[in-house]
Amino acid sequence: MKTTSVLSAHLIDEIKALPARYPQPRSAVMPALDLAQEELGYLTPEAMTEVATALQLDAGYVEGVATFYTLFHLEPIGKHRFYMCTNLSCTLRGAEELVEHLRGAIGVHEAGEVSKDGLFSYEEVECMGACEYAPMCRVDHRYHYDLTAEKVDGLVAERRSPAAAAPLSSSPLSPTLPPERGEGDKPKRAPKKKKADG
């Protein structure tokens, strides 16, 4: 008999309500993993088992889905995760040097490593579909364009000091309200669009 669970009770309830949104209940597995990852930061085996139980699916099946997709994390990640595009269009514009610069800026040696303060990690990712702004990256649910070493420093600095991070909170989507949440609790949109470039 289970005494403690890693996912909160209200989250389990939310997950149980997901299957009704789809023609077949299995489609709820990824939105459910989203919710779990959002709460814990990454997907632990226990979390995946609880998701499976809530959806009446096999735990191995849920883990099979989670391991297939790159946006599900099975290891701890930094509070701010830099997704650095290094596919061809960005590499032609200097993406590899920027990754190297980012490593120094956040103090890690390799992709996936979390900085000592727990604030940062990064990964190199494939094309994110913003090639006209290469080199680019995604961090905290937003794209950042025309990257330079200075811009990377700026992105890191404004996440280190809460004061400097103030402009972020006016973004239409603050990092604490990811879009994965259900349609009912969507964040208010700011009147202007395209805040992609911080």
Partner: protein, 435 residues
């Protein structure tokens, strides 16, 4: 705030893009938006919609280039239960950003197009499968769908008719393979995204086992214009067989990277030197990918090639998803190919052996070559692996695409491969050192 980089005020897709707040229903409607959906649900039959799109000659813009009206007509008309339109918004072909550009500028055009397509196949629900990294387009579509529902343009009685229409969103989670339509359907069903064996085709057995037409964002965003202006007007643009306009994304070593709306039939010179402003100063064009990283490369000498889709096929390459990656003479073709092979090996879903194994063989071979450990043997391995990846040995085209990168770069730039493998030098590096 990111500025638009690309065509605003073009002939079809980008017609209204100069208008501020086009993403809101009010602005979109004030320009004529949703008049096509109104016309369709209040005055047309499903067959009339299909016929109009057939006249337009519209072909799928996701890369496969399949006639849209024909795809819709494959969905059985007499099927009693639900049928679905699934929108492929999982744009992830390297070099392609045009679907993002369309959704960020005009989300309502996609919603209107998806609703019209649902009507045309006799369905009531469209699902937009959007890649997980597209946060902003997702939010814009979510808000736009809510607006359309609030106005009663989607719902049980759109424009007072009795044909219920709904558009819903589903987020992907990072897998290039989801751009392949049957893998996308697997993912939408909550599974690992591995392509299905066909037949049955999605038109018969698609999403959740039901008849489905999968259409690309750009394809559906074009449909409202075709209904407003007539298929013949659309077909008056383009070439004899490849009709209309399309989006291309130009990226890489050009002055003005961007998403441009072109009339099909202009040349790559028109795009690279004209729209994209030519090469970065002091450099020359070396090679370009004419339609995403999966399209076989063309060397600089072929810059006058037409964007005519059939002409590109005749050359053995393709217009694909429209992602034009431009590389100048300061970059090494072998290194570029090695980077792309890392991509294809990483994104292989693992289902078919030639793709799963071949991609990794190629990566290991390129690694040896770039570590100056190459020889005649490595050239031979690349040729064999490239052949093994191609020619329909797998369920989908991912493996073929990986093979095309190897084959086409080796064909046009064999001297660079020989420099690396036989002489352990990179003459591109030397040229740069002198610069």
């Amino acid at each position: 705030m990111a500025e638009q980089r690309g065509t605003v005020g073009g002939p079809v897709l980008t017609e209204w893009f100069a208008k501020a707040d086009l993403h809101t229903l009010d602005v979109y409607e004030s320009l004529g938006g949703y008049s096509a959906l109104r016309k369709v649900v209040t005055t047309m039959t499903a067959q009339q919609v299909i016929d109009e799109v057939k006249i337009s000659g519209l072909r799928g813009r996701g890369g496969a280039d399949f006639p849209t009206a024909m795809k819709w007509s494959f969905v059985p008309k007499d099927h009693p239960g639900p049928k679905y339109i699934v929108v492929n918004a999982d744009e992830s072909e390297p070099g392609s950003a045009k679907d993002r550009y369309l959704m960020e500028n005009s989300p309502h055009a996609l919603i209107e197009g998806a609703a019209i397509a649902s009507f045309a196949i006799g369905g009531h629900q469209a699902w937009i499968y959007i890649r997980g990294e597209y946060d902003l387009p997702y939010e814009m579509l979510r808000d736009a769908i809510a607006e359309a529902h609030a106005k009663g343009y989607l719902g049980d009685h759109p424009f007072g008719s009795d044909h219920a229409l709904d558009v819903r969103l589903y987020r992907g989670h990072g897998a290039y393979i989801c751009g392949e339509e049957t893998a996308l359907l697997e993912s939408l069903e909550g599974k690992r995204a591995q392509p299905r064996s066909r037949p049955p085709f999605p038109a018969v057995k698609g999403a959740w086992g039901l008849p489905t037409a999968v259409n690309n964002v750009e394809t559906l965003s074009t449909v409202p214009w075709i209904i407003r202006h007539g298929g013949a007007e659309y077909a008056s643009r383009g070439t004899e067989k490849a009709k209309g306009t399309r989006m291309v994304t130009v990226s890489g070593d050009v002055q003005k990277p961007g998403n441009y709306e072109i009339e099909i039939g202009v040349t790559y010179r028109d795009i690279i030197e004209g729209l994209a402003g030519g090469m970065l100063s002091g450099r020359d064009l070396k090679v370009f990918w004419p339609g995403g990283s999966s399209a076989k490369v063309l060397p600089a000498s072929m810059i006058d090639t037409s964007t005519d889709l059939d002409g590109l096929k005749a050359l053995g390459t393709m217009g694909g998803s429209g992602g034009i990656i431009v590389m100048d003479d300061s970059h090494c073709v072998v290194k570029a190919a090695a980077r792309l092979l890392r991509f294809y090996a990483h994104e292989s879903c693992g289902k078919c052996t030639p793709c799963r194994v071949g991609g990794n063989w190629a990566v290991r071979t390129y690694d040896r070559i770039l570590a100056n450990e190459g020889s005649q043997l490595e050239l031979g391995i690349l040729e064999r692996v490239s052949d093994g990846l191609q020619n329909g040995r797998c369920l989908c085209g991912l493996g073929d695409a990986a093979g095309w990168v190897i084959e086409s770069t080796m064909r046009h730039f064999h001297d660079e491969y020989e420099d690396h493998c036989l002489r352990h030098t990179c003459n591109v590096g030397k040229a740069l050192a002198h610069a």
